[in-house]
């Protein structure tokens, strides 16, 4: 009857491994670099833990958390009313946890003489109310707008933060990511786009202050800079077990050091 001790040992092992496996799904803003880096650091200190990280968008992350297919849902936006409603219907208590802040800076071609913009001008440019740089103190030339693509949470966040929820100008060009926006604006003397703070040092572009305020850690944390957003982990109620330990790590000194290194704004 040696079979039973083996079976018991095997089941114990499976359940232990299962308990130490963290499934994190959601935002590509968080899931592309920040959370995988945190996971690697965490694994060094907690060798028994494995991660499954899928960065397929904030919507996927919140849905996965509600469905119970992920312990942590990553999101670069707040949960929508319909998502809160869906969670309630399934008996899930949605808990948002701010991981870090993500500022969005307005970038122009390095040779553009415009030295700053107002929030109103940014809204008018991205909605197509203003189509020529001469209307905002620049050299005459048709403004070329570069945005993230429609599947990006940043695309809709920018509408909320900068455009009073209005639609983008029909002429705006959709780019796959921050690098592409920076590259296009660097090539086009009449270009304008928005970038995460991690990408503002790209060559050929410059960042302009908004209403006289430049995007940096101090202005974002003090809420003076208008285009900043918190990023979130969503859990079902108070996190427990390994998920709680990982979140504590992410919000603690070590995790926040990674936040800074990757180019986001820390909690403090």
């Amino acid at each position: 009857m040696k079979f039973f001790p083996f079976l018991f040992a095997a089941l114990t092992l499976v359940s232990t491994v299962s308990a130490q496996r963290l499934v994190i799904k959601g935002s590509d803003t968080l899931g592309a670099k920040l959370v995988p880096t945190m996971a690697e650091e965490y694994k060094v200190k907690n060798p028994g833990v494995s991660f499954e990280i899928a960065a397929e968008g904030s919507t996927t992350g919140i849905s996965a958390m509600i469905d119970g297919t992920a312990q942590i849902g990553m999101s670069s936006r707040r949960a929508k009313t319909t998502e809160v409603s869906a969670a309630q219907a399934k008996g899930v208590t949605m808990k948002p946890i701010i991981v870090c802040y993500d500022g969005m800076a307005v970038c122009l071609n390095a040779n553009n003489p415009v030295k700053g913009l107002t929030r109103r001008q940014v809204e008018q440019i991205f909605t197509g109310d203003i189509t020529d740089w001469s209307a905002v103190g620049g050299k005459a030339g048709k403004i070329s707008i570069y945005t993230r693509n429609t599947s990006s949470g940043t695309y809709s966040d920018w509408k909320d933060l900068a455009m009073k929820k209005r639609d983008y100008a029909g002429s705006s060009q959709k780019m796959a990511g921050n690098e592409q926006i920076a590259a296009e604006v660097a090539k086009n003397a009449n270009g304008i786009g928005y970038l995460g703070l991690a990408y503002i040092n790209a060559e050929g572009i410059k960042i302009v202050p908004i209403d006289g305020v430049t995007a940096n850690k101090e202005t974002i944390l003090s809420k003076k800079y208008p285009y900043a957003r918190p990023t979130f982990f969503y859990t079902n109620g108070e996190p427990t077990g390994e998920a709680a330990k990982f979140i504590d790590f992410a919000l603690g000194a070590e995790g926040q050091k990674i936040v800074e290194k990757v180019g986001f704004i820390t909690l403090k």
Binding site: R78, T82, V84, S85
Partner: protein, 437 residues
């Protein structure tokens, strides 16, 4: 009670105070932002508060369960339910000149309408309407036997686009865009086709609008040769001039001149009252409509209205004698139709106690108007008639109207037995209770 519960109650209370509506949870965003900026709550507490408020919102309001497109700037649902008592009499003309026999009818009817109108961004709009009964000139469903159930039909479905303050376009089945009266257009009819409008502001007090519509009237099988194989289209154009004047620019005078014609086709099987089945030939109508609205004529809220409408078929002779096959020696071609009316009212018809009264007189020659679009609630949609129409309306409350309408018509050209113009005498009493929502 923990801090978050206290804060939540505070935000909810303020939300109620600010908005006094079920959408307070969504409106509390700026309030929470303010609390964060003032350092009263941390970002983390604020986010938890937002989720808690959303939970309340989704649990306690139906609006919280709606998932509307972000491109939608306004979504309006509206409608009305009308209960009608109707008593009428129609006396057909007899060719022999013998004593006419009156056909008396009384019936109970209902009309249900449900509208959805969507305003989208960049000047786009769309809408639909559902209504009882299939005939385009009436939404009335007569109560029939055995507690029958009744059908609902799609009476409007359109896409609109207003790129700027001057231009407007609409395609689909839509509200009638022309300034007119029930002399030529039944208000129940929603034409289908393409509308284009251009509006010019001539100073502060004058506007000039050009309106044009290509109205699809009948689908024919193109495999057939001649007019029976061509689709029927109606083309209407109108120029509308409006001048506003004192007191407080509430009064105005409006002149509208237009032209209406058809492509040459054949129409069969239309469902409207007194519809003409046959050729669209020789319908070239010049139109002239307008009104003078005088505000505060007898104190605050009162108004006096004079209104008129006219139609002249430039090819009425051909229409009467070749299309309708009337006897030239016996009957007039009846190319002209006209209406003059006067109205007096208090309020706008939207508030309890508002009332209005209108009285008009009209004469309608047999070939003067399109029998497929004129009002079925005057002379049962027939032509070759003259007579009065009286309409009284009273607001029982802000959303319920009590209306009484009466018309009386007489034949113009006697002994005409042609189906479109064969009513010797008709009258009808309509008593309506209308609830709008």
């Amino acid at each position: 009670m923990n801090k978050r519960t206290i804060l939540k109650r505070f935000a909810v209370a303020l939300g109620f105070a600010i908005s006094a509506s079920a959408i307070f949870a969504q409106d509390s965003g700026p309030l929470i932002d303010l609390l964060v900026r003032k350092g009263i709550v941390t970002d983390q507490e604020a986010e938890e508060l937002r989720v808690d408020l959303l939970k309340d919102f989704t649990a306690n309001s139906s609006a919280g369960k709606l998932n509307l497109s972000s491109s939608l700037s306004e979504f309006k649902l509206s409608g009305d339910l009308r209960m009608r008592y109707e008593a009428n009499s129609q006396t057909p003309e007899l060719a022999t000149g013998g004593a006419p026999v009156s056909n008396e009818t009384s019936r109970q009817r209902l009309r249900f309408r449900f509208n959805g109108d969507f305003l989208l961004q960049k000047g786009w709009s769309a809408g639909f309407a559902l209504e009882t009964t299939q005939a385009s000139d009436s939404g009335n469903q007569t109560f029939t036997g055995g507690a029958d159930d009744y059908g609902i039909f799609l009476t409007r479905a359109y896409i609109g686009w207003q790129p700027n303050l001057n231009w407007s376009f609409a395609i689909g089945k839509q509200k009638n865009p022309f300034l007119t009266t029930d002399l030529r257009w039944d208000s129940d009819i929603n034409p289908q086709g393409l509308f284009q409008g251009y509006k010019m502001m001539l100073g502060v007090k004058d506007t000039l609008e050009f309106r044009a519509m290509q109205h699809f009237m009948f689908e024919n099988n193109e495999q057939l040769i001649g007019p029976a194989g061509r689709d029927a289209w109606m083309f209407e154009q109108q120029a509308v001039y409006t001048r506003w004047f004192a007191p407080e620019n509430l009064s105005n005078v409006i002149f509208a001149v237009g032209y209406n014609a058809y492509s040459q086709s054949t129409m069969t099987g239309l469902l409207n009252s007194a519809a003409f089945a046959g050729s669209t030939r020789a319908q070239n109508y010049g139109t002239l409509a307008g009104e003078v609205n005088l505000a505060k004529i007898n104190g605050e809220g009162t108004s006096l209205k004079f209104y008129w409408d006219g139609s002249y078929n430039f090819t009425g002779d051909t229409r009467a004698y070749r299309v309708y096959n009337l006897n030239r020696a016996a009957f007039d071609a009846g190319e002209a139709a006209w209406l003059v009316g006067v109205g007096y009212g208090y309020g706008t018809g939207k508030v309890q106690g508002d009332y209005s009264a209108r009285l008009d007189y009209r004469e309608v020659g047999v070939s003067a108007i399109d029998p497929n679009t004129n009002d079925s609630d005057w002379g049962f949609g027939k032509t070759n008639q003259k007579g009065l129409k009286l309409a009284l309306a009273y607001n029982v409350n802000d959303f319920t109207n009590f209306n009484v309408t009466y018309f009386d018509t007489k034949i113009i050209d006697e002994k005409m037995t042609f189906a479109l113009g064969n009513l010797n005498r008709s009258h009808e009493l309509l008593v309506d209770l209308v609830l709008k929502f």
